[in-house]
């Protein structure tokens, strides 16, 4: 046995990764926090670039107090040398290497120079990415993802356009619409294909009463949050169009308007309900998917779309934990709880002791509540059935490889594809630069097959020269670049 301090690599510096890093660092483990952004915070607490001189970044955030606690905690651990923070590190593979782990990354925006970190344990807090379903015109300049609009606002303090339609489905649309309006954009409409008010109504139904009411009643905070958004929507005079969808985006060289239509019970537009809205930007999103590439490359079992974890947030690969959106979409508060538990479990296990779950009982309770709440939310924001039938044959569904819905349907109808992988091989849909991250949900929908998480053992494009060379020396032991709290 050596007295060497055990090293935990935490991949991702969003809410889950920060919570894990702080919990582990406080318990005697050396933490290396690896993140692709320039500053910690992840998507949820994305910070304005320091050069922009933002005076009130909190105006764009809620739960600012939580962020301040995380930020200050991180600064303390950084100063004490318990945590080092590797920003601008894009991890492309985590390798099991004779009982330890090697985290392989590429540096900076160029992503050409390699860096590697050796660790005794790994927490995967890799977050999620946005899901967008295709529709005619969705590839026009001016159509961006809802999360992309929010990132521009939080990170760049810029507005994506002057007149914005926010559309799609899911709770993310609310902060995007209100955030854009607060920053000065005219939000012409928030178009939500589901009817989330059913969340409350469903709870009133006797069959759902117990589960739904419990899930909601357990979250007075969430209800207040929803109420807060409702007030902001009113304040900014944002029309909310429920059970409607953008069925087409129009424009010659860039977006000029969108057509919105009422969706019938089968998810198809009701004839005669189409309505044109002028806009220069459409921020569209249909929910999030977990980032599971690194977990899958390590051989971790997936559970549906997310990484399978036990009560301690352990994956089925010894020494690997997962927390936050990577294990299933559930928002920042759930990510914090899961990250905290993962960090405490990892610290105990790496130090050779059995963790005491009672010590994280409050986090475990909020994890239970929040998972139940998001399961209800998922049902309320479920995709309209048969939405994919609305996608015309001519619409490009995979934009990297320019594969149309018609080509996907032909692969299924006459070439014998029955699953996403065969559709990809026959049409090249998902083989391009994004490796299917953008188009897989749309392709699976149009193909009528299950959305199985794609296997991407190289989580990012890697120069062959980097692969061919021996891995560089351990970057985790070098001094911290520090962060600007």
């Amino acid at each position: 046995m050596t007295e060497r301090r055990q090293v935990l690599a935490v991949i991702g510096a969003g809410p889950a990764g920060l919570a894990a890093a702080l919990a582990a660092a406080a318990r005697g483990v050396r933490v290396v926090l690896v993140d692709s952004a320039a500053e910690p915070g992840g998507q949820f607490y994305r910070q304005p670039a320091p050069g922009l001189g933002a005076r009130r970044p909190q105006a764009l955030h809620h739960q600012w107090r939580t962020w301040e606690r995380l930020r200050d905690g991180l600064a303390t651990h950084l100063a004490a040398g318990r945590v080092s923070c590797l920003s601008d590190h894009h991890v492309w593979c985590v390798e099991r290497d004779s009982g330890r782990f090697a985290v392989h990354a590429l540096l900076g925006p160029e992503q050409r120079e390699p860096a590697s970190v050796r660790a005794d344990g790994v927490v995967l807090a890799t977050g999620g990415y946005e899901k967008v379903w295709p529709f005619p015109g969705w590839t026009l300049p001016g159509v961006i993802t809802a999360g992309g609009a929010q990132a521009m606002l939080k990170g760049g303090l810029t507005l994506p356009g002057r007149t914005v339609v926010v559309a799609g489905t899911g709770p993310l649309l609310l902060p995007v619409a209100t955030g854009l309006a607060a920053a000065g954009a005219r939000v012409a409409a928030l178009v939500e294909s589901a009817d989330p008010t059913t969340l409350v109504r469903r709870s009133a139904h006797p069959r759902n009463a117990v589960r739904g009411a419990r899930a909601l009643a357990a979250h007075p905070g969430k209800l207040a949050e929803a109420g807060g958004y409702a007030a902001q929507l009113l304040w900014h005079r944002i029309p909310v169009l429920r059970r409607r969808a953008v069925v087409e985006a129009h424009g010659r060289d860039r977006l000029e308007s969108v057509t919105v239509a009422v969706l019938g019970p089968d998810g198809r537009p009701v004839p005669g309900t189409a309505q044109r809205l002028d806009c220069d930007t459409l921020a569209v999103g249909h929910g999030l998917l977990p980032h599971t590439d690194l977990a899958d490359g390590l051989g971790c079992r997936l559970d549906g779309a997310g990484v399978h974890v036990d009560d301690e947030q352990r994956t089925d690969v010894p020494g690997v934990w997962a927390a936050g959106e990577a294990t299933g979409i559930g928002g920042a508060a759930l990510s914090l709880a899961e990250g905290h538990i993962a960090g405490r479990s990892a610290a105990a296990r790496l130090n050779g002791t059995a963790p005491d779950p009672r010590s994280w009982a409050p986090a475990a309770r909020s994890r239970t509540r929040l998972r139940a709440f998001f399961a209800e939310l998922d049902r309320a924001y479920a995709a309209p059935v048969r939405w994919a039938e609305n996608v015309p044959d001519a619409t490009v569904v995979c934009r990297c490889e320019e594969v149309t819905a018609g080509a996907v349907r032909e692969a299924v109808g006459s070439l014998g594809a029955g699953d996403l992988r065969t559709v990809k091989l026959l049409t090249r849909a998902g083989m391009g630069w994004c490796q299917g991250r953008m188009c897989e949900p749309g392709v699976a929908g149009v193909a009528g097959c299950d959305l199985t998480p794609g296997r991407r053992p190289l989580a990012r494009p890697v120069p062959l020269g980097v692969l061919a060379a021996p891995p560089p020396p351990d970057a985790g032991t070098s001094p911290c670049p520090g962060t600007s709290p």
């Binding site: 593979c93 390798e95 392989h104 050409r112 490359g297 051989g299 692969a411 006459s414 070439l415 014998g416 594809a417 029955g418 699953d419 992988r421 065969t422 091989l425 026959l426 090249r428 083989m431 391009g432 630069w433 490796q435 296997r455 991407r456 053992p457 190289l458 494009p461 890697v462 120069p463 062959l464 020269g465 692969l467 061919a468």
Partner: protein
């Protein structure tokens, strides 16, 4: 619901070999059903590069099969008049009066293979191999060090020389299997698992049992590739097909810089090797769609699908040694497949005397796409009682001692 079907032949396996068997069997007038537990090309076909190679085969039965297959691939892919026997030409338009071939649909590229030797010793060995191949009917062109750079301007300097094989070609294997199946007109039952091979009281095969009812037929073709041993076992016979794992690395799309299939002379030795441990020899080729494909690794590790970074690193190192410009090109993805391997590196093709009515068409190792047409053609000949164009003795499915079975 009646699940009883009758046809002349049940082909088990909707990969490249099963598709070719179906195509030629239907052309021979047989009524064919293809059944597969997965989708079309769900096994090794969908994990390969689509090589149609004569260059990597030593003179012998496999090379004869490769030459036959090479001719048949041309016949399938080219646009032609029925009486036209010219070599295939590449072009985008279809000339007047021509029947469209499957060439465009399957991305057929008769681009030729270039085998390079890094040392004078390796070049001598390669040249000797080429002499033997030439005697067997392979077109070979000796290439000196200067000509190498003319053929492949981005090759590393300092190579000793090589041999050009103009008959080597490539298809996109998943497209090839899907389009051959569609062109065959056979009934394709994907997502249907064969759970047994039915035998009559006389021991003759009567069809297959599936999870969705029986399919009755006097002939069953085992085209289950790497899983061929399982299908053989269902019929009560042993066929020692084992998986030999390989990774392929795929780069970002590039303008055409690698014109041929380029590989190191070591590759032929690796293909023929019996070693279970990891071997990698660089194989680099451009594709019609733009990405460069990089192989080839060989390991016998069972059906272990887990990602192996050391293997992918070795492939990258080999490829960048051959083509230094690749150092700055990004790998987009890597995927794994299992070559169906038999102990003597030859496939099993033809009737199984141990189970009358059972035919095998599997165990082609890494050459199944290329050898598919010849295999399908020979299987169709044996199914219809004709004398096969090649002597099938070296491919006899019962050539292995029973104890060789897994």
């Amino acid at each position: 619901m009646t699940n009883q079907s009758s046809c002349d032949v049940v082909v088990v396996g909707a990969g490249m070999i099963g598709a070719a068997c179906a195509l030629y069997a239907v052309r021979a007038g047989l009524d064919v059903v293809v059944v597969d537990r997965g989708p079309v090309a769900g096994g090794t076909t969908g994990a390969g590069e689509g090589n149609l190679l004569v260059s990597d085969k030593e003179p012998g039965p496999e090379l004869e099969l490769a030459l036959l297959s090479c001719r048949l691939w041309r016949g399938i892919t080219e646009d032609r008049r029925p009486d036209d026997h010219r070599p295939p030409t590449r072009g985008n338009g279809l000339g007047p009066g021509l029947t469209p071939g499957l060439g465009r649909a399957v991305e057929y590229e008769p681009k030729g293979g270039l085998v390079v030797a890094s040392t004078p010793g390796a070049l001598t060995a390669l040249t000797e191999l080429a002499v033997g191949q030439r005697a067997a009917g392979v077109e070979t062109v000796a290439v000196d060090a200067n000509q190498l750079r003319e053929l492949e301007p981005y090759l590393a300097p300092g190579l000793a020389g090589g041999v050009l094989y103009p008959q080597d070609a490539q298809v996109m294997p998943t497209l090839a299997a899907a389009h051959l199946l569609r062109a065959s007109g056979a009934r394709v039952e994907t997502g249907r698992t064969v759970t047994g091979v039915l035998r009559g009281p006389d021991g003759a095969v009567r069809g297959v049992r599936t999870d969705r009812g029986d399919l009755l037929a006097p002939s069953v073709v085992n085209a289950a590739g790497t899983w061929g041993a399982e299908v053989a076992a269902l019929a009560g016979v042993s066929l020692p097909v084992l998986p030999r794992r390989g990774f392929v690395v795929v780069t970002e799309p590039l303008p055409r810089r690698v014109r041929h299939k380029v590989y190191s002379a070591d590759y032929v030795a690796d293909v023929a090797s019996d070693s279970a441990t990891l071997q990698t020899s660089p194989v680099v080729e451009g594709t019609a769609a733009g990405p460069v494909l990089i192989g080839a690794s060989r390991e016998r590790v069972g059906f272990d699908r887990s990602f192996s970074l050391p293997v992918v690193r070795a492939l990258a190192a080999g490829a960048t040694r051959l083509f230094p410009f690749l150092e700055h090109v990004r790998a987009m993805r890597a995927y794994v497949g299992f070559r169906p391997y038999l102990p003597d590196h030859l496939p099993a093709i033809g009737p199984d005397p141990r189970a009358p009515g059972l035919f095998h068409a599997c165990g082609h190792e890494g050459a199944g796409i290329g050898l598919a047409t010849g295999t399908g053609h020979l299987i169709a000949q044996t199914l219809t009682g004709r004398t096969p164009d090649l002597d099938l003795t070296p491919f006899r499915p019962d050539r292995f001692a029973e104890e060789a079975a897994p």
